[in-house]
Protein backbone atom coordinates (compact mmCIF):
# COMPACT_ATOMS: atom_id res chain seq x y z
CA UNK A 1 0.00 0.00 0.00
CA UNK A 2 1.43 3.33 -1.00
CA UNK A 3 -0.49 6.23 0.42
CA UNK A 4 0.95 9.65 -0.33
CA UNK A 5 1.44 11.67 2.85
CA UNK A 6 -0.13 14.70 1.26
CA UNK A 7 -2.67 13.79 -1.38
CA UNK A 8 -3.45 16.28 -4.12
CA UNK A 9 -6.80 17.96 -3.59
CA UNK A 10 -8.85 18.56 -6.73
CA UNK A 11 -12.23 20.21 -7.21
CA UNK A 12 -14.25 18.50 -9.93
CA UNK A 13 -17.55 19.87 -11.08
CA UNK A 14 -19.80 21.22 -13.76
CA UNK A 15 -20.60 24.85 -14.37
CA UNK A 16 -23.54 26.48 -16.05
CA UNK A 17 -26.67 25.03 -17.57
CA UNK A 18 -25.42 21.59 -18.44
CA UNK A 19 -26.83 18.45 -16.91
CA UNK A 20 -24.58 15.85 -18.51
CA UNK A 21 -22.53 14.45 -15.69
CA UNK A 22 -21.58 10.92 -16.74
CA UNK A 23 -18.13 11.97 -17.91
CA UNK A 24 -17.31 14.20 -14.98
CA UNK A 25 -18.26 11.46 -12.51
CA UNK A 26 -15.90 9.05 -14.28
CA UNK A 27 -13.09 11.59 -14.02
CA UNK A 28 -13.82 12.17 -10.32
CA UNK A 29 -13.74 8.45 -9.68
CA UNK A 30 -10.52 7.96 -11.70
CA UNK A 31 -8.73 10.70 -9.75
CA UNK A 32 -9.96 9.19 -6.49
CA UNK A 33 -8.55 5.84 -7.59
CA UNK A 34 -5.25 7.58 -8.35
CA UNK A 35 -5.01 8.54 -4.67
CA UNK A 36 -6.31 12.10 -4.84
CA UNK A 37 -8.86 13.82 -2.64
CA UNK A 38 -11.63 14.85 -5.00
CA UNK A 39 -14.13 17.47 -3.91
CA UNK A 40 -17.09 16.76 -6.12
CA UNK A 41 -19.46 19.71 -6.38
CA UNK A 42 -22.04 18.27 -8.73
CA UNK A 43 -24.04 20.08 -11.36
CA UNK A 44 -25.00 23.66 -12.17
CA UNK A 45 -22.25 25.49 -10.33
CA UNK A 46 -21.71 29.17 -10.97
CA UNK A 47 -18.13 30.39 -11.49
CA UNK A 48 -18.53 32.23 -8.16
CA UNK A 49 -19.39 28.99 -6.37
CA UNK A 50 -16.46 27.21 -7.98
CA UNK A 51 -13.95 29.87 -6.93
CA UNK A 52 -15.34 30.10 -3.42
CA UNK A 53 -15.37 26.32 -2.96
CA UNK A 54 -11.83 25.99 -4.33
CA UNK A 55 -10.55 28.52 -1.78
CA UNK A 56 -12.43 27.02 1.18
CA UNK A 57 -11.19 23.56 0.24
CA UNK A 58 -7.63 24.75 -0.49
CA UNK A 59 -7.44 22.67 -3.65
CA UNK A 60 -4.41 22.33 -5.88
CA UNK A 61 -6.52 22.27 -9.03
CA UNK A 62 -9.99 22.81 -10.46
CA UNK A 63 -11.27 20.55 -13.22
CA UNK A 64 -14.44 21.68 -14.97
CA UNK A 65 -16.55 19.81 -17.44
CA UNK A 66 -18.42 21.99 -19.91
CA UNK A 67 -20.53 20.49 -22.67
CA UNK A 68 -22.86 23.43 -23.14
CA UNK A 69 -20.81 25.60 -25.48
CA UNK A 70 -20.37 28.32 -22.87
CA UNK A 71 -16.73 27.37 -22.19
CA UNK A 72 -15.23 30.68 -23.31
CA UNK A 73 -17.28 32.68 -20.83
CA UNK A 74 -17.23 30.24 -17.93
CA UNK A 75 -13.52 29.35 -17.86
CA UNK A 76 -12.55 33.01 -18.12
CA UNK A 77 -14.87 34.00 -15.31
CA UNK A 78 -13.47 31.32 -13.00
CA UNK A 79 -9.90 32.46 -13.75
CA UNK A 80 -10.89 36.08 -13.18
CA UNK A 81 -12.47 35.31 -9.80
CA UNK A 82 -9.46 33.32 -8.65
CA UNK A 83 -7.24 36.22 -9.56
CA UNK A 84 -9.44 38.70 -7.71
CA UNK A 85 -9.11 36.53 -4.62
CA UNK A 86 -5.34 36.12 -4.95
CA UNK A 87 -5.79 32.43 -5.70
CA UNK A 88 -4.37 32.31 -9.20
CA UNK A 89 -1.94 29.62 -8.04
CA UNK A 90 -4.83 27.15 -8.28
CA UNK A 91 -4.51 25.33 -11.62
CA UNK A 92 -7.60 25.31 -13.83
CA UNK A 93 -8.15 22.56 -16.38
CA UNK A 94 -11.16 21.28 -18.17
CA UNK A 95 -12.87 19.02 -20.60
CA UNK A 96 -15.82 18.91 -22.91
CA UNK A 97 -16.93 19.81 -26.38
CA UNK A 98 -14.52 22.61 -27.18
CA UNK A 99 -13.85 23.56 -30.82
CA UNK A 100 -10.24 23.65 -32.07
CA UNK A 101 -10.25 27.41 -32.53
CA UNK A 102 -11.12 28.03 -28.88
CA UNK A 103 -8.31 25.94 -27.43
CA UNK A 104 -5.40 28.36 -27.95
CA UNK A 105 -7.37 31.35 -26.65
CA UNK A 106 -8.49 29.52 -23.54
CA UNK A 107 -4.96 28.33 -22.88
CA UNK A 108 -3.67 31.86 -23.34
CA UNK A 109 -6.28 33.00 -20.84
CA UNK A 110 -4.82 30.61 -18.27
CA UNK A 111 -6.57 27.26 -18.66
CA UNK A 112 -3.67 24.85 -18.14
CA UNK A 113 -5.07 21.91 -20.13
CA UNK A 114 -8.18 20.95 -22.08
CA UNK A 115 -9.22 17.34 -22.60
CA UNK A 116 -11.61 16.72 -25.40
CA UNK A 117 -13.57 13.61 -26.42
CA UNK A 118 -11.42 10.55 -27.08
CA UNK A 119 -8.65 11.37 -24.62
CA UNK A 120 -7.65 8.29 -22.61
CA UNK A 121 -8.40 8.53 -18.90
CA UNK A 122 -4.78 7.96 -17.87
CA UNK A 123 -3.72 11.06 -19.80
CA UNK A 124 -5.96 13.16 -17.56
CA UNK A 125 -4.80 11.38 -14.41
CA UNK A 126 -1.15 11.81 -15.39
CA UNK A 127 -1.69 15.50 -16.03
CA UNK A 128 -3.14 16.08 -12.57
CA UNK A 129 -0.47 13.93 -10.93
CA UNK A 130 2.16 15.98 -12.73
CA UNK A 131 0.97 19.14 -10.98
CA UNK A 132 2.86 18.06 -7.89
CA UNK A 133 6.48 18.37 -8.92
Amino acid sequence: MTVAATPLRVLIGKVGLDGHDRGVKLIARALRDAGMEVIYTGLHQTPEQVASTAIQEDVDAIGLSILSGAHNTLFRRVLELLKEQQAEDIVVFGGGIIPDEDVPTLKAAGVRALFRPGVPMNEIVDFVKGLRS
Binding site: M1, V3, P7, D33, A34, E37, V38, Y40, G42, S52
Partner: protein, 254 residues
Amino acid sequence: MALADRVKVGNVRAVSRMITLLENQDPAGAAILRLLGSGSHRAAVIGITGYPGAGKSTVVAQLVAAYRRLGMKVGVLAVDVSSPVTGGALLGDRIRMQEHTLDPNVYIRSMATRGHHGGLAHATSDAALVLAAAGYDVILIETIGVGQDEVDILDVAQTVVAVVAPGLGDEIQAMKAGLLEVAHIVVLNKGDYPGAEMALRDLGEWCPLVLRTVATKGEGVPELVAAIAEHQQVTVFLAQGQSRSRHMEKRIGS
Protein backbone atom coordinates in the same frame (compact mmCIF):
# COMPACT_ATOMS: atom_id res chain seq x y z
CA MET B 1 0.81 39.47 7.92
CA ALA B 2 1.69 36.14 9.49
CA LEU B 3 -0.65 33.22 8.91
CA ALA B 4 -1.79 33.11 12.54
CA ASP B 5 -2.79 36.78 12.42
CA ARG B 6 -4.64 36.33 9.16
CA VAL B 7 -6.52 33.38 10.66
CA LYS B 8 -7.48 35.50 13.66
CA VAL B 9 -9.05 38.17 11.46
CA GLY B 10 -11.02 35.49 9.67
CA ASN B 11 -9.20 35.48 6.32
CA VAL B 12 -10.68 32.50 4.47
CA ARG B 13 -7.59 31.67 2.45
CA ALA B 14 -5.51 31.66 5.63
CA VAL B 15 -8.00 29.42 7.43
CA SER B 16 -7.92 27.02 4.47
CA ARG B 17 -4.12 26.99 4.33
CA MET B 18 -3.89 26.45 8.05
CA ILE B 19 -6.22 23.44 7.91
CA THR B 20 -4.13 22.02 5.06
CA LEU B 21 -0.97 22.35 7.16
CA LEU B 22 -2.69 20.44 9.95
CA GLU B 23 -4.00 17.78 7.57
CA ASN B 24 -0.52 17.31 6.14
CA GLN B 25 0.95 17.11 9.64
CA ASP B 26 3.30 19.93 8.72
CA PRO B 27 5.23 20.98 11.85
CA ALA B 28 4.41 24.62 11.01
CA GLY B 29 0.76 23.79 11.60
CA ALA B 30 1.30 22.74 15.22
CA ALA B 31 3.41 25.82 15.86
CA ILE B 32 0.80 28.18 14.46
CA LEU B 33 -1.95 26.36 16.35
CA ARG B 34 -0.21 27.28 19.61
CA LEU B 35 -0.23 30.93 18.56
CA LEU B 36 -3.97 30.70 18.02
CA GLY B 37 -4.63 28.96 21.33
CA SER B 38 -6.24 31.64 23.41
CA GLY B 39 -9.43 33.06 22.07
CA SER B 40 -10.64 29.65 20.99
CA HIS B 41 -13.12 29.39 23.82
CA ARG B 42 -16.46 30.61 22.73
CA ALA B 43 -17.46 28.47 19.78
CA ALA B 44 -20.24 25.93 20.15
CA VAL B 45 -18.98 22.69 18.65
CA ILE B 46 -21.77 20.39 17.54
CA GLY B 47 -21.16 16.91 16.17
CA ILE B 48 -23.46 15.32 13.62
CA THR B 49 -22.87 11.62 13.32
CA GLY B 50 -24.91 8.63 12.20
CA TYR B 51 -25.30 5.86 9.70
CA PRO B 52 -24.30 6.26 6.03
CA GLY B 53 -27.09 7.72 3.96
CA ALA B 54 -29.22 8.68 6.96
CA GLY B 55 -29.14 12.34 5.92
CA LYS B 56 -26.33 13.86 7.98
CA SER B 57 -25.29 16.37 5.31
CA THR B 58 -28.86 17.48 4.72
CA VAL B 59 -29.37 17.94 8.46
CA VAL B 60 -26.13 19.94 8.61
CA ALA B 61 -27.26 22.18 5.73
CA GLN B 62 -30.52 22.86 7.58
CA LEU B 63 -28.67 23.67 10.79
CA VAL B 64 -26.38 26.06 8.93
CA ALA B 65 -29.44 27.89 7.61
CA ALA B 66 -30.97 28.03 11.10
CA TYR B 67 -27.82 29.44 12.72
CA ARG B 68 -27.37 31.95 9.91
CA ARG B 69 -30.89 33.23 10.57
CA LEU B 70 -29.72 33.88 14.12
CA GLY B 71 -26.83 35.91 12.73
CA MET B 72 -24.12 33.47 13.70
CA LYS B 73 -20.97 32.75 11.74
CA VAL B 74 -20.93 29.03 10.93
CA GLY B 75 -18.07 26.66 10.15
CA VAL B 76 -18.61 23.15 8.83
CA LEU B 77 -16.08 20.33 8.83
CA ALA B 78 -17.41 17.46 6.75
CA VAL B 79 -15.47 14.22 6.99
CA ASP B 80 -15.53 11.43 4.42
CA VAL B 81 -13.55 8.23 4.11
CA SER B 82 -10.18 7.83 2.39
CA SER B 83 -9.65 4.66 0.41
CA PRO B 84 -7.60 2.16 2.41
CA VAL B 85 -6.18 0.96 -0.91
CA THR B 86 -5.19 4.12 -2.79
CA GLY B 87 -5.50 6.88 -0.19
CA GLY B 88 -7.86 8.72 -2.50
CA ALA B 89 -11.24 10.04 -1.47
CA LEU B 90 -14.42 11.35 -3.02
CA LEU B 91 -15.61 14.19 -0.85
CA GLY B 92 -19.23 14.93 -1.66
CA ASP B 93 -20.87 16.21 1.49
CA ARG B 94 -20.96 19.81 0.34
CA ILE B 95 -23.26 18.95 -2.56
CA ARG B 96 -26.09 19.11 0.00
CA MET B 97 -24.86 22.46 1.33
CA GLN B 98 -24.61 24.45 -1.90
CA GLU B 99 -27.02 27.20 -0.90
CA HIS B 100 -24.36 28.28 1.62
CA THR B 101 -21.33 28.30 -0.70
CA LEU B 102 -21.43 32.03 -1.38
CA ASP B 103 -22.34 33.15 2.13
CA PRO B 104 -19.22 34.91 3.46
CA ASN B 105 -20.24 33.91 6.99
CA VAL B 106 -20.21 30.21 6.22
CA TYR B 107 -17.05 28.17 5.79
CA ILE B 108 -17.29 24.58 4.62
CA ARG B 109 -14.31 22.26 4.51
CA SER B 110 -14.27 18.64 3.38
CA MET B 111 -11.77 16.41 5.14
CA ALA B 112 -10.69 12.88 4.25
CA THR B 113 -9.91 10.43 7.06
CA ARG B 114 -6.45 9.57 5.63
CA GLY B 115 -6.40 6.30 7.50
CA HIS B 116 -7.59 7.66 10.83
CA HIS B 117 -10.21 5.55 12.58
CA GLY B 118 -12.91 6.78 14.90
CA GLY B 119 -15.14 8.65 12.46
CA LEU B 120 -13.06 11.83 12.06
CA ALA B 121 -9.85 12.82 10.31
CA HIS B 122 -6.84 13.17 12.61
CA ALA B 123 -6.83 16.92 11.97
CA THR B 124 -10.56 17.53 12.46
CA SER B 125 -10.35 18.52 16.11
CA ASP B 126 -7.50 20.94 15.45
CA ALA B 127 -9.36 22.34 12.45
CA ALA B 128 -12.25 23.13 14.83
CA LEU B 129 -9.82 25.12 16.98
CA VAL B 130 -8.72 27.06 13.90
CA LEU B 131 -12.32 27.91 13.04
CA ALA B 132 -12.99 29.00 16.62
CA ALA B 133 -9.91 31.25 16.51
CA ALA B 134 -11.11 32.69 13.19
CA GLY B 135 -14.32 33.82 14.86
CA TYR B 136 -16.84 31.18 13.89
CA ASP B 137 -19.59 31.04 16.50
CA VAL B 138 -20.89 27.58 15.68
CA ILE B 139 -18.82 24.71 14.34
CA LEU B 140 -20.69 21.76 12.90
CA ILE B 141 -18.64 18.60 12.50
CA GLU B 142 -20.10 15.94 10.26
CA THR B 143 -18.47 12.55 10.82
CA ILE B 144 -18.11 9.85 8.21
CA GLY B 145 -21.09 7.54 7.97
CA VAL B 146 -20.40 5.48 11.04
CA GLY B 147 -21.21 1.99 12.20
CA GLN B 148 -21.56 1.61 15.94
CA ASP B 149 -18.13 2.23 17.31
CA GLU B 150 -16.73 5.40 15.71
CA VAL B 151 -17.28 7.84 18.52
CA ASP B 152 -14.23 10.19 18.45
CA ILE B 153 -16.70 13.01 18.01
CA LEU B 154 -17.48 12.79 21.73
CA ASP B 155 -14.02 14.16 22.53
CA VAL B 156 -14.35 17.07 20.14
CA ALA B 157 -17.95 18.25 20.27
CA GLN B 158 -19.93 19.51 23.24
CA THR B 159 -23.20 18.25 21.81
CA VAL B 160 -23.44 15.10 19.69
CA VAL B 161 -26.42 14.42 17.44
CA ALA B 162 -26.83 10.95 15.93
CA VAL B 163 -28.84 10.83 12.72
CA VAL B 164 -30.57 7.56 11.90
CA ALA B 165 -33.23 6.57 9.39
CA PRO B 166 -36.17 4.16 9.49
CA GLY B 167 -35.73 0.55 8.48
CA LEU B 168 -32.28 -0.04 9.92
CA GLY B 169 -33.14 -2.50 12.64
CA ASP B 170 -35.37 -3.42 15.50
CA GLU B 171 -35.57 -2.48 19.13
CA ILE B 172 -32.49 -4.54 19.94
CA GLN B 173 -30.41 -2.31 17.65
CA ALA B 174 -31.65 0.68 19.65
CA MET B 175 -30.56 -1.02 22.88
CA LYS B 176 -27.01 -1.72 21.79
CA ALA B 177 -24.00 0.08 23.19
CA GLY B 178 -22.07 2.61 21.11
CA LEU B 179 -23.36 5.33 18.85
CA LEU B 180 -26.92 5.64 20.12
CA GLU B 181 -25.77 5.25 23.70
CA VAL B 182 -23.40 8.20 23.57
CA ALA B 183 -25.39 10.65 21.45
CA HIS B 184 -27.00 13.47 23.37
CA ILE B 185 -29.76 13.76 20.81
CA VAL B 186 -30.97 11.08 18.41
CA VAL B 187 -32.63 12.28 15.21
CA LEU B 188 -34.82 9.96 13.21
CA ASN B 189 -34.49 11.56 9.78
CA LYS B 190 -36.59 10.60 6.75
CA GLY B 191 -39.41 10.65 9.26
CA ASP B 192 -41.94 10.42 6.44
CA TYR B 193 -40.66 7.03 5.28
CA PRO B 194 -42.50 3.79 6.00
CA GLY B 195 -41.51 2.33 9.33
CA ALA B 196 -40.83 5.72 10.92
CA GLU B 197 -43.49 5.26 13.61
CA MET B 198 -42.09 1.93 14.71
CA ALA B 199 -38.50 3.22 14.65
CA LEU B 200 -39.50 6.22 16.76
CA ARG B 201 -41.14 3.95 19.29
CA ASP B 202 -38.14 1.59 19.45
CA LEU B 203 -35.64 4.43 19.78
CA GLY B 204 -37.81 6.28 22.30
CA GLU B 205 -37.75 3.30 24.63
CA TRP B 206 -33.98 3.41 24.97
CA CYS B 207 -32.64 6.84 24.02
CA PRO B 208 -33.24 9.89 26.21
CA LEU B 209 -34.15 12.35 23.46
CA VAL B 210 -35.42 11.32 20.05
CA LEU B 211 -36.63 13.81 17.47
CA ARG B 212 -38.21 13.20 14.10
CA THR B 213 -37.07 15.22 11.08
CA VAL B 214 -37.65 15.33 7.36
CA ALA B 215 -34.50 17.30 6.65
CA THR B 216 -35.12 17.72 2.92
CA LYS B 217 -38.23 19.72 3.84
CA GLY B 218 -36.91 21.33 7.00
CA GLU B 219 -39.49 19.52 9.13
CA GLY B 220 -38.43 19.07 12.74
CA VAL B 221 -35.39 21.32 12.32
CA PRO B 222 -36.59 24.09 14.68
CA GLU B 223 -37.12 21.43 17.35
CA LEU B 224 -33.61 20.11 16.74
CA VAL B 225 -32.11 23.60 17.01
CA ALA B 226 -33.98 24.10 20.29
CA ALA B 227 -32.83 20.73 21.65
CA ILE B 228 -29.20 21.50 20.77
CA ALA B 229 -29.48 24.93 22.43
CA GLU B 230 -30.91 23.36 25.55
CA HIS B 231 -28.14 20.79 25.68
CA GLN B 232 -25.51 23.48 25.14
CA GLN B 233 -26.99 25.51 27.97
CA VAL B 234 -27.10 22.63 30.36
CA THR B 235 -23.65 21.25 29.67
CA VAL B 236 -21.69 24.26 28.55
CA PHE B 237 -22.93 27.27 30.42
CA LEU B 238 -24.19 25.83 33.68
CA ALA B 239 -21.44 23.30 34.32
CA GLN B 240 -18.62 25.33 35.80
CA GLY B 241 -15.18 24.46 34.50
CA GLN B 242 -16.51 22.33 31.70
CA SER B 243 -16.97 25.06 29.17
CA ARG B 244 -14.46 23.50 26.83
CA SER B 245 -14.38 20.14 25.16
CA ARG B 246 -11.83 17.62 26.35
CA HIS B 247 -9.84 18.17 23.20
CA MET B 248 -9.59 21.91 23.84
CA GLU B 249 -8.38 21.26 27.39
CA LYS B 250 -5.72 18.93 26.11
CA ARG B 251 -4.52 21.24 23.36
CA ILE B 252 -4.58 24.63 24.97
CA GLY B 253 -4.61 23.89 28.69
CA SER B 254 -6.47 26.01 31.21
